[in-house]
């Protein structure tokens, strides 16, 4: 590109003026930089008056799963805050460190390093399947119990420092297939089932597991197609079209709300007719808003009660807290309830761990949970020293787009291990 004569000369003059200013600013800048560097080195060593219980959270607030990640993060933060507002546990307050990793594994690793070594947390709340799995050897080594939003799959049913209260994705799908099997669309032929899942680990792992064991065949249903949708897809028409060719009766959807809404809407646009069965993270009110009419008939496997089911005592407690401190909040998402449950579990575990509170003592305390009641929000939770999956039960619910909620229509369904 051309350089105009006038422009160049003007730039040279400002250059000189800038150099003069720079000499004065130089001192200011270098002192500032030194301060910042020192701050960085010392960061995280700020202490409170009485010794606090430090808990860390690696959450997704701005990444591709943040539509469900944000309510989740709020749920746990609110519960821990509630503990503090009620005076802490035996007088000790909880210091909670949430770090947003935007669903990027490298950020999750840095965040973990920070939490484990700078802040010395004794427990960790984890979110994404991929990063949770990657952290398993680390938390085992550092002896920090990790409470994750996903349950270990069947290939890794137990590891010392990973806990999950929710039924695993594989079990949810197995339960849903069971439900489908009992409701044939057309008599005289096998029920046709398709899997639509995310290309991220939380989608691939359960589907891989089910396919390896030929589960569909064992159940007596016919697996006719499978499609993969990217986390950040903005359209999924070709996948929907291919799926339409296979004419599935039931389509299992293992996608978070963002890609799920794209897929289901595109399915409607191309005239694909099927019953969608979504895994637990699709029980999201904002998803229904996105889907609109297309959400009719969506079945979701929910591992705990919804925020609008206020007749459940545990849910009422959630609303009590929120009415007091966040009165403008009108909806409590399913994810918020899950995370709130984790808060309850942590509180109980800390109480049981006694005075010597370390990661290891917390883990031992967790393993003493036998049918721990959660005020009806979910089925009672049991952790043993060989099984860290809290529950194997879930409820089926169907979407009601007019009301914008999900209606549970089944009892608690228990899935065999």
């Amino acid at each position: 590109m051309m350089d105009y004569g006038g422009e160049a000369r003007r730039r040279k003059l400002t250059q000189e003026r800038r150099n003069n200013m720079e000499r004065q600013n130089r001192w200011v800048v270098s002192i500032f930089l030194m301060l910042a560097f020192t701050l960085f080195l010392l960061g995280g060593t700020i202490t409170y008056a009485k010794e606090t219980i430090k808990i860390g959270g690696i959450v997704d607030l701005t990444g591709p799963t943040n539509d469900i990640g944000v309510p989740w993060a709020q749920g746990i933060a609110d519960y821990l805050d509630k503990i503090n507002k009620e005076g802490g546990i035996k007088g000790r307050l909880i210091e909670y460190f949430p770090i947003d990793y935007a669903y990027k594994l490298p950020q999750a690793m840095v965040a973990y390093k920070r939490l484990a070594t700078e802040h010395n947390v004794i427990a960790l709340i984890g979110w994404g399947t991929g990063d949770n799995k990657a952290r398993i050897p680390l938390v085992n080594k550092d002896k920090i119990p990790q409470l994750s939003a996903f349950a270990l799959d069947q290939t890794e049913p137990y590891t010392p420092y990973n806990f999950a209260h929710m039924i695993s994705y594989e079990h949810q799908i197995m339960g849903m297939l069971q439900y489908a099997k009992d409701r044939p669309i057309e008599k005289g032929r096998k029920i046709r089932v398709a899997y639509v899942y995310s290309d991220a680990e939380y989608g691939r792992a359960p589907i891989r597991y089910l396919k390896e064991r030929n589960y569909a065949e064992k159940m007596g249903v016919e697996l006719v197609d499978e499609q993969i949708i990217g986390q950040t897809a903005t359209e999924a028409v070709s996948q929907a079209l291919t799926l339409k060719k296979a004419k599935p009766d039931y389509t299992v959807v293992v996608l978070t709300p963002k890609p799920a809404s794209v897929f289901i809407k595109d399915a409607k646009k191309v005239g694909l007719e099927t019953t969608f069965m979504g895994f637990s993270f699709l029980g999201d009110y904002s998803l229904l808003k996105l889907l609109g009419e297309a959400g009719k008939g969506l079945i979701v496997a929910a591992p705990c009660c919804y925020g609008h089911e206020t007749d459940v005592p545990g849910i009422k407690k959630i609303w009590d807290y929120n009415k007091k401190y966040y009165p403008e909040r009108k909806v409590i998402e399913l994810q918020y309830v899950y995370a709130w449950l984790y808060g309850m579990i942590i509180e109980e575990a800390i109480k049981r761990a006694g005075d010597n509170l370390t990661g290891e003592s917390l883990k031992n305390a967790l393993e003493t949970f036998r049918n721990f009641g959660t005020d009806g929000i979910s089925r009672p939770i049991t952790f043993t020293s060989t099984d860290h999956r809290g529950s194997y039960e879930f409820k089926l619910s169907v979407a009601n787009p007019e009301k914008g909620t999900f209606e549970s229509f089944s009892d608690w369904i228990k899935v065999e291990k």
């Binding site: 800038r18 150099n19 003069n20 720079e22 000499r23 130089r26 910042a36 560097f37 701050l39 960085f40 080195l41 960061g43 995280g44 700020i46 959450v59 607030l61 701005t62 944000v70 993060a73 709020q74 933060a77 805050d81 909670y96 460190f97 949430p98 770090i99 947003d100 935007a102 990027k104 594994l105 490298p106 690793m109 840095v110 390093k113 920070r114 070594t117 700078e118 991929g130 799995k133 990657a134 050897p137 680390l138 290309d199 991220a200 680990e201 691939r204 792992a205």
Partner: protein, 348 residues
């Protein structure tokens, strides 16, 4: 302190460290680096280790883009190639780390040279776009060639061992990585005292003229891609063995852009600039996280904003640098250094 430099022999002009003053500062800094691990937490060591790893990669990119003028937006892909090669060699074939590392480097160099072949036909912007495509294609290959790479799940990479001594914590890795970073810096700097290095610079400045004076530009362009990818591969391998796990998510286009940002902010065409750029780009986001944690009075609002603010700071910093100081941190450093070098006789 000398007021200037007075050389009587060509050899002394070629010296990298020209005065005793500089050399003694260097020794002092070296001591500081060696003693650092005993005073700081593991987290700080982790950050320093990341800096060392990225220095290796950034110097590679600087060789290609800063010195040879070939714009590459696919550097992250070559880091990925190195990381996965090393991981597969150590896990599936049982190679020890010390053999896997150079093989990973050479294989990455090989792949780099393949993607450099288009540089014969296309240049400038088109080459940049081609490297962008390379990034996406390699990304796809890694995710979908599950048999080889385990796809999205990634690979668990073992820590390196040396005669029974296992490098499995941050402190031990600190010294190892420091060594590698040092080698990268020294070799990079020395590259440009050689014929090959000068050929690179000639290609950057005016490649048609370079060809006229006898520089085989195709050969040297390929060599530039190769050498730069070798550095990238080594960086990738180190990264994998340090964090003990690699997944395709580590190596997306964001990584390539980060590397580019590092060398541009640091100063294109300068080895020391690459170091500055890396330090800057790694420390600033961590500082912001610290600020976020310190200000965590209202949960959620700050923590979510911090992530967006990081992106904002990243973009704004680069724009500010490019508009006001296109030669990067290195230029600022050079001005400060020259000012002090000639003090109190300096003038502007």
């Amino acid at each position: 302190m000398p007021c200037g430099l007075f050389h009587t022999v060509y050899k002394t002009d070629e010296h990298i460290f020209k005065t005793i003053w500089v050399k003694s500062w260097l020794v002092a800094f070296g001591f500081f680096l060696l003693l650092l691990p005993f005073f700081v937490s593991n987290y700080v060591l982790y950050v320093c280790n990341m800096i060392s790893i990225f220095i290796v990669g950034a110097i590679g990119l600087n060789i290609l883009t800063g010195f040879t003028g070939q714009i590459s937006i696919g550097h992250g892909a070559f880091v990925a190639v190195g990381a996965y090669t090393s991981a597969i060699l150590t896990t599936k074939l049982g190679f020890p780390f010390w053999i896997a590392l150079p093989i990973a480097g050479f294989f990455a160099a090989f792949i780099g040279m393949i993607f450099g072949i288009p540089s014969l036909r296309i240049k400038g912007l088109y080459l940049a776009i081609a490297t962008l495509a390379a990034q996406f294609i390699i990304d796809y290959a890694i995710v979908h060639w599950e048999r080889l790479t385990n796809g999205i799940t990634g690979i668990s990479v073992p820590s390196p061992t040396l005669f029974g001594f296992v490098f499995d914590n941050d402190k031990k890795f600190y010294y190892l990585l420091l060594g590698f970073a040092l080698v990268a810096v020294v070799s990079g700097r020395n590259l440009f005292r050689t014929r090959v290095g000068r050929a690179f610079i000639a290609i950057r400045d005016r490649d048609i003229s370079a060809e006229l004076i006898g520089v085989d530009i195709f050969k040297y362009k390929l060599l530039a891609f190769g050498i730069s990818s070798f550095y990238a591969g080594v960086a990738g391998s180190l990264w994998g063995h340090y964090t003990n796990v690699i997944t395709p998510e580590h190596f997306t286009i964001v990584l390539s852009i980060d590397y580019l940002a590092m060398i541009i902010v640091g100063g294109l065409g300068s080895i020391l600039g690459a170091v500055f750029g890396v330090v800057f780009m790694i420390i600033v986001p961590e500082l912001l996280t610290t600020v976020g944690i310190l200000l965590k009075s209202t949960f959620g609002e700050i923590t979510a904003l911090i992530s967006a603010i990081k992106g904002l700071v990243f973009g704004v910093t680069i724009i500010l640098f490019l508009v006001f100081e296109p030669d990067g941190l290195f230029e600022i450093w050079r001005r400060v250094r020259d000012y002090w070098k000639l003090w109190p006789f300096s003038y502007r």
